[in-house]
Amino acid sequence: MASQSNDPRLPSAARPYKAPVIAPQDLPIDYSGFIAVIFGVFGAMFRYKLCSWLAIIFCAQSLANMRNIENDLKQISMAMM
């Protein structure tokens, strides 16, 4: 648009980007991971092969959808314990 009469830039006001800090418990819910766990439990309980396979597939999905590895690894290690 034509209304920029002079240079609007203001280097003095530049502030570097600060990434918002998100606590691990505020992360969006990992639905696919949740589904994977449910299928895994069912597969183990009823010895039903398809359930275990679905669990693997959803596990792969949740791995593919990891947002930032550090936070998620934190969560996973917590879950392991």
């Binding site: 648009m1 920029q4 609007p8 830039r9 006001a13 530049a14 398809l50 597939i57 596990c59 590895i69």
Partner: protein, 500 residues
């Protein structure tokens, strides 16, 4: 122009890292998981059977019985992962299928005859069958650890095929075949989709954020780092990209978030075939506190504007739908303006904007990607004065389509920065804000009072409980007293007479 991906920090050395440098962490985990689960699958039945066989072998030393058992044991011993799918078959197979077992890939030929020999000798000597089990499992584990992540899945497919040649039922493999092939497609799609998303984001950045582009002319600092050659885009996950710019009059910063379709995820890709969605980009402009007047304004397509008015808190409190004024050019028919007052709406929809984007004719051509805009000094969250623009991204070859939409962002920053409400309108807006502030204050007070009352109630409860305890003790004492009194009453029946 580089993408700094937060996910590539963790690098695990796998042999595939040469081919696929980024996602090896994912691959590694994925392979481990699949191997682990398959191991579990085949260990469970295998672990169950030798247990009972061990009991039997001790009791009856019958050779005729021992022979088939030994075969059964061999087949139920956990094979290497690569041969995973053969076990479920073997339980149903005839007892003389040994040659077919030997036909299977050479990797597991060695352990089996060995275990067979061991077993036969042991059978006659009466040594418990634990040794061969540990050996075969060790061999299986070794084979598993040696096998690479992806080759293992490929091997299993090959084995499936080789198994299919053997005259066994193929139907019992359908689940495995389907799942493994789905996983392979999933893995391929993961890499292609990731690349696609990155290309789209890079196309946007090269169009609008390189030298002499619109953002370079408006902001002195581009990118997420502090120096000039820092990466422009910040990748978050596989489908979210962020672009940050700062150093401009009236605003402290601009954050553009590209939320692309999750092309890397096959399941959501399939889901999106049913429920289509768009690649979206959201510009959040954080205005300086002193350079934004009390303005609440939003515009979107009709349906969306109505839901925004109902759902967004500031619009719900301060703004209402604005009907197009008479005798003035107005936005295209599809659009609906939500604003605090008519004055704000008419001032913010200037002739230039109508000409460029929002007018009837221009909107058909250039407004396709427009989703919504929301300018407000009462946004929820940490920074209250914020302008939010939401656009749909075109494909990477037609990035120029959204040039005019992107140009709206700096235009509105200037417009809002210079805009001053008339005194009449300002008094109205101030009254409204004061009212809302009062309501908020009241709510806060209510909440505080509620909290206080709850505390009091709790204290009272505690006291009552203590009293109840006390009173219970008192009751007991009273009862004891009563009893003793009754005893006393009962006692005097035996009257004592005093000897005079």
């Amino acid at each position: 122009m580089a993408i700094r991906s937060s996910s590539s920090l963790l690098r695990l050395k796998s042999p595939l890292s040469l081919l696929l440098p980024r996602g090896d962490a994912f691959l590694y985990l994925f392979a481990l998981l699949s191997i682990f689960s398959l191991l579990l699958h085949h260990l469970t039945p295998a672990a169950a059977q030798p247990h009972f066989e061990g009991f039997d072998a001790d009791e009856d030393d019958d050779f005729a019985l021992g022979e088939p058992k030994s075969e059964e044991f061999i087949r139920s011993s956990p094979p290497p992962i690569t041969l995973s799918t053969s076990t479920p078959e073997s339980h149903h197979g005839p007892p003389d299928t040994d040659p077919s077992q030997i036909q299977s890939p050479p990797s597991d030929q060695n352990p089996k005859p060995a275990s067979f020999d061991y077993w036969d000798e042991d059978e006659f000597e009466g040594i418990p069958p634990t040794e061969p089990i540990t050996e075969t499992t060790a061999a299986a584990a070794a084979a598993a650890s040696e096998s690479d992540p992806v080759p293992s899945s490929e091997d299993s497919v090959n084995d499936l095929n080789s198994d299919a040649k053997v005259p066994w039922k193929i139907t019992s493999f359908t689940v495995e075949i389907a799942c493994v092939s789905f996983l392979i497609v999933f893995a391929i799609n993961y890499f292609t989709g990731k690349k696609e998303n990155e290309n789209l984001a890079l196309a946007w950045a090269s169009k609008f954020a390189t030298k002499d582009s619109i953002f370079d002319k408006n902001f002195s600092l581009l990118g997420v780092g502090e120096t000039d050659d820092s990466p422009l885009l910040l990748q978050e996950g596989k489908s979210v990209f962020k672009f940050y710019a700062s150093g401009r009059r009236y605003c402290s910063g601009l954050l553009a978030t590209m939320e692309l379709k999750s092309r890397h995820d096959l399941i959501s890709r399939l889901y999106n075939m049913v429920v289509p969605c768009k690649d979206e980009i959201t510009f959040e402009v954080y205005m300086n506190d002193d350079s934004m007047d009390q303005v609440v304004f939003a515009m979107a397509r009709k349906k969306m504007a109505k839901t925004m008015q109902k759902e967004l808190r500031d619009l719900q409190r301060f703004a209402g739908l604005v009907n197009p004024p008479n005798g003035r050019k107005w936005v295209a028919d599809e659009l609906q303006v939500v604003s605090e007052s008519k004055e704000v709406a008419t001032d913010l929809i200037t002739d230039a904007v109508l000409d460029q984007v929002f007018g009837d004719k221009a909107f058909e051509k250039f407004g396709k990607g427009f989703i919504s805009m929301h300018l407000s000094d009462q946004q929820p969250g940490s920074s209250k004065k914020m302008l939010i623009f939401k656009f749909a991204l075109p494909d990477k070859n037609n990035m120029a389509d959204m040039t005019r939409l992107v140009a709206l962002v700096p235009y509105y920053i200037d417009l809002i920065g210079r805009y001053k409400l008339s005194s009449h309108a300002r008094s109205k807006t101030e009254a409204a804000r004061a009212k809302v502030a009062q309501e908020l204050y009241k709510e806060l007070q209510y909440a505080r009072q509620d909290a206080l009352q709850k505390k009091k109630a709790e204290q009272r409860k505690k006291l009552e409980e203590a009293e109840a305890k006390l009173s219970a003790e008192a009751l007991r004492k009273k009862e004891a007293k009563d009893r003793s009194r009754q005893m006393k009453k009962a006692m005097p029946k035996m009257k004592m007479t005093k000897a005079h």
